[in-house]
């Protein structure tokens, strides 16, 4: 608002304001006019009734049911010898939260004390090595914060974003573990497959116009189709390698592509060493795969949510782009999918995933129950994700497309470099809201018979020792979800401020 033209005067007093007094505030906000007084009385009575009931119950409740079943509620039947991997995931998370806090939050905030109080309180109520583990969590969070403060001036934001993006797959690899392929020659076939991809990228950087590269892919494809024993080895590298070459060669004029190809080529050697000498011993010992039947409790909820987020996000972006595509077939397909999934309740999708997937796939290809539930979650979340992303895409002014076209960018470049970054930044709050919804919705897998935290709670309550403790257990579950969801929504508000959403 423009300031009225006047000489800046230092000696002029500010206009008289109402002086703040406690009594005056109470009188103005709580007691007048009459309906305000009525409202105050009703609110006080409500607070009194609620607090009195809650406190008198909470003091007599059998809270010992929670610590006695804490482990099963948290991780279900996750093997005890691998529990340290869950702890490692928590420690990593704490360090990343601390780091991001150091990078993005400059002011002192009360929430920091609450965040730090969580491991302190948990360390105090637990005992033995669990207490040490919580202390380590706090220490790592503080160390992360210290690093974050240092890194703030040196691209700290980029590092923090990278850490968060890497955290989700790391979490999955830690908690789920690594499986060993059943194939006897998997080391060699993996080496060949990776070599095809890397070679395609290098060819795209240095020989973008040589048609023989494509013929090479075609030869691989022909070999894969002709020789059944080689099919599983060569089929997907031939296709993916061709796509990598075909897409990357259009950027061959950029200096960055050669550098990238060189880096990938160099990374291939240590990767090979790792696959040949470290992968197998690790996945036999420390990082052995934990079968999904052993995922349980809150860990299962979080795993389902993490998988759901990781896969439904790219799928949702694709559907959003499809819905705005100018190709009628693609648009129709996207619209039908999105509207169908959004029109039916989540539980029917889960039910369908449990019952239909085994029928739709050949009998020798069985997917286990947890994976089926995860696929249902992904299918469901992708449709909602698509609508949210579409909202962001629609908010991008036409001038951005025109400016990109004027700069000579093609459609893919316009989308990837100009439109999507802005669109996604604008919908962060909505997306986080959806992630919270997704985490909350994972409790529904208990209806199709999985042992998530609600399922475990039911089995705890059917133990004769703990009959009559429904309120304690379910309130505890509700409280856990509340902390997680509220934490996520708080983080999203911070992220919004840090990225300057809604500001120019």
């Amino acid at each position: 608002m423009p300031q009225p033209a006047q000489t800046p005067s230092t000696d002029a007093l500010p206009p008289p304001t109402e002086r703040f007094t406690l009594l005056g505030w109470v009188y103005k906000n709580l007691l007048t006019p009459w309906y305000n007084l009525l409202l105050t009385v009703v609110s006080l009575w409500l607070v009194y009734v609620l607090l009195k009931g809650t406190i008198s119950w909470a003091l007599t409740a059998r809270w010992e049911v929670i610590p006695a079943n804490a482990r099963i509620l948290m991780v279900g039947s996750y093997p005890a010898e691998y529990l340290w991997r869950v702890w490692a995931a928590i420690w990593l998370l704490a360090a990343i939260v601390g780091f991001s806090w150091g990078v993005w939050v400059s002011k002192r905030e009360r929430v920091a004390w609450v965040l730090m109080a969580v491991p302190v309180v948990l360390a105090l109520v637990s005992h033995g090595w669990v207490r040490l583990a919580w202390a380590a969590t706090l220490a790592l969070a503080l160390a992360g914060w210290w690093l974050g403060r240092r890194a703030r001036a040196r691209k700290g934001g980029v590092w923090a974003t990278l850490l968060w993006v890497l955290y989700l797959p790391t979490f999955v690899l830690l908690v789920r573990g690594w499986g060993l392929p059943e194939e006897p020659f998997w080391k060699y076939t993996t080496a060949v497959q990776l070599a095809v991809i890397v070679a395609s990228l290098i060819a795209a950087a240095w020989a973008p116009r040589v048609p023989w590269v494509a013929l090479g892919h075609a030869a691989l494809l022909a070999a894969a189709l002709a020789l059944p024993q080689w099919r599983s080895v060569l089929l997907w590298p031939a296709i993916v390698g061709f796509l990598v070459w075909f897409i990357a060669r259009r950027y061959a004029h950029l200096e960055g592509l050669k550098r990238l190809a060189l880096q990938v080529g160099l990374a291939y050697i240590p990767l090979l060493i790792f696959i040949f000498f470290a992968y197998e011993p690790l996945s036999r010992t420390w990082l052995a795969k934990v079968a999904s039947a052993n995922w349980g409790g809150l860990l299962l909820n979080i795993l389902i949510a993490v998988f759901g987020i990781m896969f439904s996000f790219p799928l949702g972006v694709l559907f959003a782009l499809g819905r705005r595509s100018s190709l009628p077939v693609i648009r129709l397909f996207s619209i039908l999918y999105i509207e169908f999934v959004r029109g039916v309740p989540f539980i029917t999708i889960l039910f369908m995933a449990q019952i239909m997937f085994p029928i739709l796939l050949p009998p020798d290809m069985s997917i286990d129950r947890v994976v089926r539930a995860i696929m249902g979650v992904i299918m469901f979340a992708a449709a909602y994700m698509a609508e949210n992303v579409r909202g962001g895409l629609q908010a991008i002014p036409k001038g951005q497309y025109e400016a990109a076209a004027a700069l000579g960018l093609n459609a893919t470049q316009t989308m990837l470099l100009i439109i999507l970054p802005q669109a996604l930044r604008n919908v962060i709050p909505v997306l986080v809201g959806q992630f919270i919804g997704l985490l909350k919705d994972t409790t529904l897998v208990t209806i199709v018979g999985l042992l998530d935290i609600l399922g475990v709670a039911q089995s705890v309550l059917s133990n004769p020792k703990w009959i009559g403790t429904q309120r304690e257990v379910y309130l505890f579950v509700a409280f856990l979800f509340w902390v997680l969801s509220y934490g996520m929504s708080y983080a999203s508000r911070r992220l919004e401020q840090a990225l300057g959403v809604g500001r120019r």
């Binding site: 009703v42 029917t348 029928i359 919705d441 409790t443 209806i447 379910y474 509700a478």
Partner: protein, 407 residues
């Protein structure tokens, strides 16, 4: 231009690529679909369960806990009747849930913009707590932690207006026990048949008043309280009818029946099961929190200048609400409100976790009995899809109706 037509360049021609890409896409979708369909066909053929809707006419063979009073259902009724009962139960809990959730949401949402810090704080705490807790946890807590651990009928149920009768019996206006809620309710007497005609007349009168006042409003540019006046007309005719029927037939068309407890049985009045109560109240307080946010956003979307302008024009508070605030807030509120209604209806499927026989629950039982997976899934999805199609059709109509007419 002619270069575009040469054969050498056709794979660089965008027009060709667009068509080609779509053809490939259709082909891939078709092949994947055919693959899945073949698998499904073989799997179902092996089990002798090829899709076939004949099972709808065979006997269901299971009982349903709650059947609407105007429907006859027993274990020997066909499966389609079971579906119908489930559908009606879904509609019942959704319709009541929508009404009550709207009331809760409007109250809490308004409280969130009040100047009174106590009321505002209470409303904020309500919204912030419930929006961050899974509905299923809330429902299960509500059912297992509250409703089925209420005192038993024989012990000391929560009552309101209790009158002890001889023989250990008692009656009360409201009885809340682990069997659910029983409350005093109106019951039709023999005079009800006579009264139905009066109700029809009242409806006609209300419609006439509504049309007349709308015509008057268009004609004169005034804004009478159309809805309230037609409601008044309805009530007036209904009241006159009540007294006329009472005078001629010797009894009122409705009479109040108070529930009475004999040993472990409740007789008379309206009885609601704990499952229904838990589902309804869970859905209401959960959706109420979301509706509160919708209402708050709508109220805050009305710019302050509008209120100041209304005051400057000398409108009374009532006029300001009716002509300035509500029309503008409603435009913001109604679209997300409808989607909340739809969410509530879809969320009522969680009834399966607490044993209320809604459509999904009944369909699950039928699936377990008959093994007819595809058919059952098709039926439930078709029902919920038609709900959302009807709702979105309504939304489009409403959006057209209230669209801002720019001058």
């Amino acid at each position: 231009m002619w270069q575009d037509m040469t054969w050498r360049n056709f794979w660089r021609d965008e027009r060709f690529l667009r068509v080609f890409g779509q053809v490939v896409f259709v082909l891939v979708v078709f092949l994947v679909g055919r693959y899945l369909y073949t698998n499904m066909y073989t799997a179902l053929a092996q089990r002798g369960l090829l899709p076939n809707f004949d099972f709808l006419n065979t006997a269901a063979g299971f009982d349903i806990g709650e059947v609407p009073s105007f429907i006859h259902y027993s274990g020997s009724s066909p499966n389609k009747m079971a579906f119908l009962v489930g559908l009606l139960n879904t509609l019942r809990v959704s319709a009541l849930g929508i009404v009550f959730a709207t009331i809760v949401g409007v109250i809490v949402g308004t409280a969130r913009v009040l100047p009174n810090p106590l009321a505002r704080g209470l409303a904020t705490a309500y919204v912030e707590f419930l929006r961050n807790v899974p509905l299923l946890v809330l429902l299960v807590f509500w059912y297992r932690g509250v409703f089925i651990v209420l005192p038993r009928l024989a012990e000391n149920p929560i009552t309101w207006g209790r009158q002890d009768l001889p023989g250990g019996k008692f009656r009360a206006w409201l009885i809340l026990s682990n069997r659910g809620l029983a409350m005093a309710w109106a019951q039709a007497t023999e005079a009800w048949a006579l009264y139905k005609g009066w109700l029809g007349a009242a409806l006609v009168a209300a419609v006439l008043v509504y049309l007349g006042l709308s015509w008057y409003a268009r004609r004169t540019g005034r804004a009478p309280l159309t809805f309230l006046w037609s409601l008044a007309a309805f009530l007036a005719v209904a009241a006159v009818g009540w007294f006329v029927v009472q005078a001629t037939a010797g009894q009122a068309p409705l009479r109040v029946v108070v529930p009475e407890v004999k040993k472990r049985l409740v007789e008379g009045g309206l009885k609601l099961s704990p499952e229904f109560l838990a589902l309804l109240s869970g859905l209401v307080i959960y959706t109420g929190a979301y509706i509160a946010e919708v209402v708050r956003a709508g109220l805050q979307a009305v710019s302050k200048g509008q209120i100041e302008a209304a005051r400057a024009l000398g409108l009374t508070t009532f006029q300001m609400l009716r002509f300035v605030i509500f029309p503008q807030a409603l435009r913001v509120i109604v679209p997300p409100l409808t989607s909340q209604y739809l969410n509530l209806t879809k969320n009522s499927t969680l009834a399966v976790a607490i044993g209320y026989p809604d459509l999904f629950n009944v369909a699950g039982t039928i699936f377990n009995q008959t093994g007819r997976s595809i058919e059952v899934i098709v039926i439930i999805m078709a029902v919920y899809l038609s709900f959302s199609l009807i709702t979105s059709a309504f939304m489009n109509w409403y959006n057209r109706k209230i669209r801002l007419v720019e001058r």
